[in-house]
């Protein structure tokens, strides 16, 4: 590589020139060529002379103020962007909260209706009076879109069963008596109901949901896609124990 080529490749100086594949070779030449080094040094001196002739001029204060205003004007946009993001996040939280509250209210209304139905059927007659769980299950067959399982509840007496409608959902209603107190077991398709209106408890390692309404205790559990709801004026602890028994009995099928 000759001097002319090297000086062209390293124009104006090695620090500012365009780096090409020949750069390394040109730099190697420069290290060994005093004439080229002098030329490059003279270019650097010339550049410094030019710089000395053009000291940076201070921008007028009015321009500085205008630029400051432009920069400041961009900050509210940033702020509003953050506010919008915060508002969007708050809206999502509120929407979720509102959805949860509506769901909870709807769920509570449904289970209150179950309690009221229990009271309604206290004096009602069974459509099929029987103490035989299998007979009652057979009777429900083809009457519901889910399989009705009639459990035996310890010392409780099985009285009979009937169909009922809860908020347009078809349900099986099984009557028991325990300690001379009526106990109703409602069974319905679990997909039709949300449990968010009830309080959740865990008994014997399994979840149970409960509520109290107008002197009635309610206990619920879900099994194989069927929601089982026990309602009685028994003490809540007794009813929960009964519900736990019913769950174990149902699981034995």
């Amino acid at each position: 590589m000759n001097c002319e080529r090297v000086r062209k490749l390293l124009y104006p100086t090695p620090a500012k020139c365009e780096v090409t594949v020949e750069h390394a070779e040109a730099m190697a030449h420069l290290r060994s060529c005093e004439a080229c080094r002098k030329t490059i040094d003279a270019r650097a001196d010339w550049s410094r002379e030019l710089q000395a002739g053009f000291p940076t001029e201070k921008a007028p204060d009015r321009l500085r103020l205008k630029i400051g205003a432009i920069v400041a004007a961009s900050r509210p946009a940033l702020l509003s962007s953050r506010v919008v993001q915060a508002m969007a996040a708050a809206a999502v939280v509120l929407a979720v909260l509102a959805g949860w509250l509506v769901s909870r209210a709807t769920s509570q209304a449904f289970f209150r209706a179950i309690c009221e139905d229990h009271a309604k059927y206290l004096s009602g007659e069974s459509q099929l009076a029987s103490g035989d769980p299998r007979q009652l299950e057979s009777w429900f067959r083809d009457k519901t879109d889910f399989g009705v399982r009639v459990p035996l509840l310890g010392t409780s007496e099985l009285l009979g069963a009937r169909l009922c409608f809860l908020k347009e959902h078809k349900a099986a209603l099984v009557f028991y008596r325990k300690d001379n107190r009526p106990v109703s077991l409602f069974q319905l398709n679990a997909r039709d109901v949300r449990l968010s209106g009830l309080e959740r408890s865990v008994i014997d390692g399994a979840p149970l949901w409960r509520m109290s309404y107008r002197g009635f205790a309610l206990a619920a559990f879900e099994q194989r896609g069927v929601l089982n709801v026990l309602v009685s004026d028994l003490r809540e602890s007794e009813l929960l124990q009964l519900a736990s028994t019913a769950r174990i009995e149902s699981a034995g099928y």
Binding site: K8, Y11, A42, L50, E57, L78, S81
Partner: protein, 182 residues
């Protein structure tokens, strides 16, 4: 400088703030370049203001944080070129033409010093001198700012140096003479 469509994110907010900080830090350099390119202090102020507004507004489009200074100069030189074209003072340089063919800016009134000599250069030549010699950008960076190939930037710089050398008798001894190069 690569740009991508706007995406609103906290990163954009940080980017805009960073660009604004760089803008304020190099304001004197921007103003100096603008004055030397236009020869008109009021026009220089207006152009810096216009470019600053564009820079702040476009900061959200910036993808690379590297070399924000070069990007800001690019925005400013675009505004300056548009201004000079409106004033019919900007004409692309014919690198094959002789020295007598270049455009002499009306900004130049005499050749008392190096400033006057620079003012006599055609704006495209003056721009490479200001960017590479004064603002110390590399050939590649100046080429990016002026949207020309690096080879063209180097040729314009060599041409500008040659014309300055011939105008500046007082500096002639210091100017390297490189006959035939570039």
């Amino acid at each position: 400088m690569k740009i991508v469509p706007f995406r609103s994110s906290p990163e954009n907010a940080v980017e805009r703030q960073h660009v604004a900080e760089v803008l304020v830090a190099i304001l004197d350099s921007l103003y100096s370049t603008s004055v030397r390119m236009t020869g008109n202090a009021q026009a220089a102020e207006d152009l810096v203001q216009e470019a600053s507004r564009k820079v702040v507004q476009s900061a959200r489009m910036l993808r690379e944080r590297r070399n924000i200074r070069a990007w800001i100069f690019k925005v400013l030189l675009n505004s300056i070129r548009d201004y000079l074209r409106r004033q019919k003072l900007w004409r692309e340089v014919d690198l094959d033409a002789g020295d007598s063919d270049f455009t002499v800016s009306p900004v130049a009134t005499a050749m008392h010093d190096v400033r006057k000599a620079l003012a006599r250069l055609a704006p495209p030549l003056r721009a490479v001198v200001l960017l590479i010699d004064i603002e110390e950008f590399t050939i590649s960076e100046a080429a990016g700012i002026l949207k020309i190939p690096p080879g063209t930037a180097a040729s314009r710089l060599a041409r500008a140096h040659r014309e300055l050398r011939e105008q500046l008798g007082a500096y002639r001894a210091k100017v390297p003479r490189e006959g035939g190069v570039l």
